[in-house]
Structures are given as C-alpha cells and as structure tokens.
Amino acid sequence: MAGIGFELRKILARDSYSSTLRAYVYAGLLSAGPWVLSIISVMLIGIMSIGVVFPELLVRQFLVTTTYLFATSLITTGGLQVFFTRFVSDRLFEKKPHVILPNLLGIMLIATICAGLLAFVLLWWLFDQPFLYRLLVLTNFVTLCNLWLVIIFLSGMKQYNRILLTMLGGYSLMVVASFFLRPWGLDGLLFALLLGHATLLFVFLFDILREYRAEKLIAFDFLDRKQVFLSLLLTGVCYNMGIWADKFIFWFNPMTSEHVIGPLRASMLYDLPIFLAYLSIIPGMAVFLVRIETDFAEWYERLFDAVREGQTLQHIQQLKSEMTVAIRQGLQEICKVQGITVVLLFLFAPKLLEWLGISHFYLPLFYIDLIGVSFQLLLMALLNVFFYLDKRAIVLELSALFVLLNIALTLLSQYLGPSFYGYGFTVSLAICVLLGMMRLNKSLDDLEYNTFMLSR
C-alpha cells in the first residue's frame, strides 16, 4: 500500500469530521475494495442467476470456478505482489519514478506468459470441459493475475474518486453483463466475469501508464538481486497459501466436499460461512489502514528522521515510545471496531442467515469464522508494521508458520469432527497473532540497538 499514508494524511490534515469520515471510507474501500466487491458481485451474479440458469448446477459451477480462479491467481501472484510492492516503494523512495512503468510492464509480461502457460498446461491436463470453458478460464486467470499486480499502484494514485468510480463501474458492468449473458449459461457468466475484470485491468492500466513517464517500454530491473528482496517472494506465497490452505483441504477431503466441475470440488458446508465472515472485516480494515498508515507511519518517519538528523538519544527514545503507543492504539482500535462488529454479527447472525436463506446448521461455523477473520485482520496489521520496520525475517517466519499451522490444525479439526470445523483456521491465526505480538514487543524493545548496532 505504498503511498496511501501520504494521501490519507492529507485528507486528515483538513481536520474535520467529514474529512475524517472520508479518510476512513476511502481507506476501507481501497484496502478491501477489489476483493470485497468481487465477492459481492460474484454472489450477486450467483443469486441473480438462480432460477434463470438451468440446471442450477451451472450456477454452482460458475461460483466454484470463480473461487478457484481467485484462489489460484492470488497464490501464484501473491509472492510477486509483496516483492514488487517493495521494489516500487524503494524506487519511489530513491526518486526514480521513470523506472516504474517499464518494470510494471516487464513483470506483467512475465506474469502473463507464465500464467498463460501454466493455465494452459493445467487445463489441457486436468480438465475435459468444452474448449470454450477452458478458454474462458484461462483468460480469466491471466486477467486476474495481471489485475492483482496493477492494484498495487492504486493506493499511490491520487484520484481516489476516479478509482472508486472505476471499481464501481467495472463491477456494475460485470453484474449487468451477466444479466444479459445469462442465456449462454456458464460460458456467458464467465464471460461477464472476464468483462468486468478486464475493464478494471485496462482502465487502471491506462491511468498508471499515464502517470509514470519512462524512457523505455520494458525493463527487468526487478530481476536484479541487488534491488530486490527474494525472501519477500516466499513471504507472499506463504501468506496467500495460508489464507487458502484450510479451504483447499476442505475442498479435497471427500468427506466434506462434492465434485462440481472438472477436477474442481467444493465444500458447501465450509465455504459459505467463511466468505460471509470475510465481509465483516471491512470496518476493521479501514481503521487499520488509517491508523497504521497515518499515525504509526508518521511517528516512524519522525523517529528515523531524528536518528539521521542527529537528535539526542533521549529524544529518539521518546519518539520510539510515541511510535509504540501509536501501534498499540492502532491495534486496540482495530480490536474495538472489529469486536463491536463481531458482537453485532453474533447477535444478528441467526436472523441474517435466515434472511439469506441459509440453514442454521452453519451458525457455529460462522461464529468461529468471524473470530478467525478478525485475527486475520490483526495479523495483516502486524505484518504491515513489520514491513515498515523492515523485519522481513519475522514476516516470513509468521507467514510460513501460518501456512503450516493452518494445514496441520485444519487436518486435525477434520479428524476431530464437524463441531471443530473452522477451528483450524481460527486457532492457527490466533497463534500467529500471539507470536507476532511477542515478536513486535521484542523488536520495539530492541529497536535502537538494532538500528544502530546491527545495521551498516
């Protein structure tokens, strides 16, 4: 989320309730926007299609295919996203905006070709669906992979209204198109999905390409070991795998899943509650972004300015404690907001599920998932702080731990039986958050020592 703090701070600097509210709304939409809107739109498409697209299995096939597309594209590009975000921030910090465009197109070139070939091989090998379905899946996959890379830049762009409108436009187009393309069944819906995402991709790309002038079209500076941190690749992959590990386990356990299309399986039981639960973190996400990117980041900058400018040790220590307070307050506020949201959802969950036409059977799982995703939010906040402090090793440690724990505990929960479903995900995140807090404490305690004694 390079650059967002700066813009948010500008909005907050106007110092009025409306501007504060605006900052939170922007932050929420920007951080949660792409994927929350995706979930909502896809669900909307699904709901709209029920009763129109026959047989109903087709709708389910569409939803599952979409889920797989998101999961696989996020996992494949997760590493690149983290890795490339850092690359872009570093170059911008070095005041070299002219290297951004060629490198973005360079990484898109690599991502497109790799994603295309990977999808081609998998679709050839594992699927026996009609050609058109396979073609649409491949195209959707490549588009999403590129979209995740392009989205890195959104927070750095200044025209927020424009970004929000684009998002709104893209997803509306997707929903509207699906309405008209429904007669073509699964292919029609997949094409609507593609249309929406491709629109987003190319409109954003248009804006970004206009923003960064360059001297050439393509560059591969990000392949230069000296300019990048390879560990970030692994971190991104681990983190995204962690997020999806429990779902895949449920999808491919024959006990908890059923076959849907081609090799794709899904778990009705497990998927619905967790995707609903994800919608609950939007407010927390907004708070997190505003707190971490403004308060914390500001103290952070002042702290390191103080170090560089030769302030007294006492002053450096004072700034550090201010920064620590900012982190603590940020985390507390996330907890508060998320806590309220969770409590409210706990209270209204039975009615909500009823209203959505979902069986009460899902309630316990929904509850535990609500807690789980809240922990996930905290973990994201912690990871962000660690990224600021340049503790790449800790981030990698936490991400790797997350994926391992999630796999192990989810398997354990399946072994223990249905009343433990969802605990694997939640407990693994809880452990990671606890460990992250401990690491954070230690990192902050040792901050001056590390800064002075252990860096060059």
Partner: protein
Amino acid sequence: MTDQNRSGPVAQHGDQADVCLLLEGTWPYVRGGVSGWINQIILGLPNVTFSVLFIGGQRESYGERHYVIPPNVKHIEEVFIEDAWQFAPRAEQAPSDGSVRDLANMYRYFHHPQKPDEITGDAVLGALASGQLTMQDVLRSRASWEAITEGYLNHCSDPSFINYFWTMRTMQSPMVMIAEAAARMPRARLLHAISTGYAGLAGCILKRRWQCKFILSEHGIYTKERKIDLAQASWIAENADEALNSSLDPSSGYIRSMWIRFFERIGLMVYRNADPIIALYDGNRQRQVLDGADPDRTRVIPNGIDLERWNALRQTRAEGIAPVVGLIGRVVPIKDVKTFIRAMRTIVSELPEMEGWIIGPEDEDIEYAAECHSLVASMGLEKNVRFLGFQKADEIIPRLGVMVLTSISEAQPLVILEAWCAGTPVVSSDVGSCRELIEGGTAEDRDLGQAGEVVAIADPQATASAVLRLLRNPERWQTAQTAGVARANRYYGEALMLERYRKLYSNSMGNL
C-alpha cells in the same frame, strides 16, 4: 621498485627477531626525519634482527616503499586503521553478548571524562591482548550498546547521538583491529615503539602478550600533534548550535574533546607501560612527564649523524660565504616554504645577487607545491628562487651560505646537524629542539656559542633579517660555523646514539 619492495612480509622464515619495531605512518612508506632515523637504527645495528608492525591510515595512501628493506628485518606486518571501519559482518550472525565488564572498562578507560586508574587500564589491556574482546563484541554486542549509551546519557553534552555513536565506533574498532594484528606478530624479544598513539597501543598489547620489555622513543609528541590536528579538523561534525553560538566559549564541542581525550588516554597507557621513555631533547622529556610519564623512566637520547662522512664535506666548500640561502625539506605545508619565499623577497631586495634554493621533493603535496611556485612568480623572484627537487644532501649542503629552516613543527632536525658538519650556519624557526640545538642546552653546551639564529615561526621579516645579519657579517658567520662544527661533533655523533641504543637493547634483552 621491485616486487620485493611492495607490501607483504619480507621473510616469514628465520628465527625469532630481537626487536619488534612498532611504527605508525612512517618507515618504510613515508620519507622524512623519523623514517630516516628508523633506517639509521636498523642499518646501524646490523647484528640486531628486527620485525616490524606498520600501522597506516588508509591503505591507498601508501604507494610504494621508499626504503629498501635491510636483511636484518625479518618480518613486516601491516595494518590499516581505516579497514576497521569497513568491518561489516551481517546482523544474521547471532551477536555475541560480549563481555559486559570489558566493554565497560574500555569506556571507563578511554572515554570517561575522569582520568582512569591503572587497574582499569590493565584490565582493558588484558581483554585486548587475550583476544577476549572481539570486533563482534565492540561493534555488535548488546553490552557494547549499553556501555556506549550509558556514556552518552551520563557525560555527552553534544546533542547528536548519531555523531557520538559513530565517533565511539571509529575510536573503538581500530583498537580491536590492532590487537588482532598484534596477535599475528611473531614473537620478538623486545618491543620498541617509535610513537605513542596506535603504535604505542600495539606495544602495550604485545608487552602484555609476550611479557617482555617495551621501549618507547618519541620524536615529536604524538598526543600534542593529534590535538593540534583535531582542534582544526573540519571532518568532525559541529552541531548546529555550535555554529550559531557567538559567545567566546573556548570549548570546541564534545566530539572534539572525545577525540582529544582518546589520544591522551592512549598516551597515558603507553607511558605507564613503556620503560624507558626516550625523548630527543629535554623539552620533550618534560612534556612527556607532564603528560603522565614517570620521570624516573624518561631519558634523552638525541639524534646523531655520521660525523666522519659529514666532516669530510667541509673540505669541499668553496672559499668564503656562498651567496646561496637554502631550505632543505619536502615541499609541504609543515615546512612552511611560503615563509621562506617571502623572506627571500626581503633578502633579495637588500642583496640582489642572493639566491634561494628550495631542495626537496614536490610530489607529496602537489597543490601546495603549485601554490609555492605561483607565490615565487607573483613576488617576482623567478630569477632568484629555484626549486631543485630532491637532491643528495651531501652534495648540496656544502654549496649553501646559510641554511634556513622555516618549519612550523620539528623535533630535532637531522638536517641542522648535517649542515653544521658541512660548515653551514643555520637560521631556524623556534620549534622543537631547534633553540636548544642552535643556542646550546646545558651551560657547557652554550659556551660553544650560537651556531646560527632562532626566529619565530611564520615571520618572514625576522627570518630575512637573521639571514642578512649572517650574510653581511663574515665574522659572525665564521663564529656560527665554528660553533656548529664543535657542537655537532661533541654531542650529536651517530656512533654515540647507536651505542646508546645498542646498550639499551642488550640491557633490555639480557644479552646481545
């Protein structure tokens, strides 16, 4: 230069050396008085074998060796201070916790405002000599961090922590590096440092390791020279308040005083460990005592020259007073060649046939040399002042009427002794032992008469009139010549000096 003269040990094989020489920034890389003296000692005592620890600043600033390594030098080890600051093991290596006590002692001894006691010094030396204190400990350990920050919080009055921090590292890491280099030295039977400072510190460490005698010979006073450098050094960051401050506060910032204190403490440590402590003349000996040397250990051994050779040169002199005023020395700021040129302006105005010769290599400070040339041109002295470059002293000195030394700092310049033997009176600036040399030290010495004149530094008018007095008054010139010859022959023979050192060495080693 042959390969043999490039860096690297000369000979690792062979027996244990008798004397380990500890040199900082001199022989065999840099020409000059001290290096010449070292060469004289090594060549003059061919039966004694030497090993050498050379300590330099920047590796790049030492090109090729200017002295051929004599066969009785068995080993040369080199270490460069600046390398210590390049040391950067990555943080991934688990930082050792260091020895809390050692690091606290290190701070206490070298950086604490209060004068430290001997016990602390011994403890620090012990830690350095045993290799207990590593570079990791000093640069990475938590104990080091605590020692440094505690010092800052309790004593530092300069607000900038980062300046303080890096100053501490820049001071501490070379000490450890020198200790590590010392550990590589093959054992010798006796230590001889030619200055305090880093070389002296190496001496203290090695003395602790080898349990042998440690002799210190100082030409200049190292601590004093560092102080002068530091008082004006522009690389020490001044903090903003300092620059704005308009009061007549003489304090020059905590960082500067930390540096001065650091070199004072090293000096103190060396004086406490060395025995005997040798100065070239009594003025410096008193200074050493003032700086903490035990008076009982101090003694004076003046420089000496090869009397036979130089006395013979007097025969090659032409009759009468040659109309030539000469300055012998490298063309560098410390010799203050500009004052010589300005004095020549006045001399030539009075005696237009006079010539001024500047005899010495110009390659050491090319910029300064260029400034001197342009000064000559702008003074209209092109016809009278000549730059002769490096010349053999024994060929050129007999051709001078008066030799002038305008240096702003000297210890006991050999060139004055050489000039006397060759029959040339000397006008010198009042630095180092020059007054003692020219006017005589003891009463007995003074009876020999003035062998020239002493003038204030950077005073062209006074220099010119002193030269003119000698040149215009043959009688006065003659007396000065006689006094010079007599004094050099009585007190400053090389044989005398070498004999004193031979004795010193053999006493300290037991037998030789």
